[in-house]
Chain length 232, copies 2
C-alpha cells in the first residue's frame, strides 16, 4: 500500500484525502514493479495514465478558454501544448514529491527510472486520473489551482516570447508588409559570440537586437521593434 | 441567429435545448462567414472547437476506461484514436445534420467546404464545446450516449480486426515463439487477384488465409489460427 507519509503529505500540502486508497496505490505502481512481483497480482498505473491524460487536457483547456476570452484558437492551442507536455508535467510531479513514492522494479530503479521525465509525466497523469475517479473533476481542478494555474497566471507558459511572430502579426494588421532581418555582424570570443541583427519593416529599420546566436538576436530585434511600435 | 428548424431538431432528436442560443450560433459560424461579414463583428467557432476537442477526448476516454476494465492501456489508446478522429467525428456531424446548418462564406461554400471532413470534425467539436459551456459535461455525455457510445458498443471502432497482433499476444503468453507468414501463391485475374498465405507458429501451420492483397491474406490466416487456438 501507498506510504502513510505520502498520504499525510497529500492532506497537509494539498488538502487531498482519497476515499479509496487502492486507486491511489495503483497510480504509484509502475509496470516494472508489477512485473517483478507477479505473485501479488497488482495493476500498474498505465490505465490511470490513459484516463488522466484526457482529464488534464480538459482541465487545462477549460482554464485557458475562460481565462483568455480574447485569445484566438491558435494561441490557446500553443499555450496548451506548452503546458500539457513532458517537461511541465514532470516538473509538477517532482514539485509534489511524486517521484519519491512511485514503486519501481529493481531493474528500472537501477536504470535511473525514478528521474526519467516521461515516467514522471505519466505519474502526474495517473495521479490525476486516480483523483478524478475517486472524487470527480472538481477535485482535479482544485489540485490544478495549486500546482498548475498559478504558473499559467505567472506567464510561465506564455508563448509571447516569440517576438518575431508577434511583430509579424502586429504589422500585418494594416496589410501586407515585408519584414527583413539583417545580420550586421558578430563579435566576442569563440565561446561567447555576440550576434548583431537589425529588423527592417518595409525597408525601414525598426529595431536592433543582440544575442548569443542569430535566432536569439532576431528575437531581440523583433522585441525592440514591437516596443517602439507599441509606444506610438 | 441559428435556424429555428435546427433548434427544433436538436430538441426533438436529442432532447437538447440551449439556454444561451448565442453560444450555439457561434459553434455554427465558420471563420469564412465571419471574414465576409466583418461589419457584424461575429466570432467564429474555432475557440469552441479548441474546448470541444478536449471535452470529447475526456468523454470518450472516461467511457472506454469504465466499459473495458480489463483492457490494457495500449488497446484503450488505439480505440480512442479510432474514435477521436476526422473520419468518425465528421460522420457524427453529418448524422446529426450539422452540415446543413453551418454558416459559411460564399467562397468556401463554392469550394465545397460544407462537405469537407475536417470542417465537419471541427464542427462536431465546436458543438460539444458549446454544449459543455451551456450545460456542463453531463449534457455532453447524454449526447454521446446517443451518437457515439452505441457505436462503440456495436464494435464499430474495435481494433480487434488486427488479428496478427492478437495472435502474437495470444501465443506469446506462454513464452517466446516464432510466427511466420508464408505466401503460398496468388491466382485470379489481374483486377481480382487472390493471395494465399499460411501462418506457422514455431514451424507448425496453424491457419490458412485468403485476401485481395498479401496483408489481408495474412490477417485472415492469423484470424483462422486464433480461432483454432481458442477452440482448444
Amino acid at each position: 500500500m501507498v506510504a502513510s507519509e505520502f498520504v499525510s503529505e497529500l492532506r497537509q500540502r494539498y488538502g487531498i484525502e482519497f476515499n479509496n486508497l487502492a486507486v491511489l496505490d495503483e497510480a504509484f505502481t509502475h509496470s516494472s514493479y508489477v512485473n517483478e512481483h507477479r505473485e501479488l497480482g497488482l495493476s500498474d498505473n498505465e490505465r490511470l495514465e490513459f484516463l488522466g491524460d484526457a482529464v488534464m487536457e480538459l482541465t487545462v483547456s477549460d482554464y485557458l478558454y475562460k481565462k483568455y476570452p480574447d485569445l484566438p484558437e491558435g494561441k490557446l492551442t500553443r499555450m496548451r501544448a506548452a503546458i500539457v507536455q513532458t517537461k511541465s508535467f514532470s516538473s509538477f510531479s517532482k514539485e509534489a514529491h511524486f517521484d519519491q513514492y512511485i514503486k519501481l522494479g529493481k531493474g528500472e530503479e537501477n536504470a535511473g527510472a525514478r528521474k526519467r521525465l516521461t515516467l514522471l509525466e505519466d505519474l502526474f497523469e495517473a495521479f490525476n486520473g486516480a483523483l478524478y475517479l475517486d472524487q470527480g473533476r472538481g477535485a482535479v481542478i482544485k489540485f490544478a489551482e495549486q500546482v498548475i494555474f498559478p504558473k499559467i497566471d505567472a506567464g510561465e507558459f506564455s508563448t509571447d516570447t516569440d517576438h518575431k511572430t508577434a511583430l509579424q502579426e502586429f504589422v500585418q494588421q494594416s496589410g501586407e508588409v515585408t519584414i527583413n532581418y539583417r545580420l550586421l555582424g558578430e563579435d566576442g570570443p569563440a565561446h561567447a559570440r555576440e550576434f548583431h541583427v537589425d529588423v527592417e519593416v518595409d525597408g525601414k529599420v525598426l529595431g536592433h537586437g543582440l544575442g548569443t546566436n542569430k535566432k536569439a538576436a532576431e528575437q531581440a530585434a523583433a522585441k525592440a521593434a514591437l516596443a517602439q511600435l507599441e509606444s506610438k
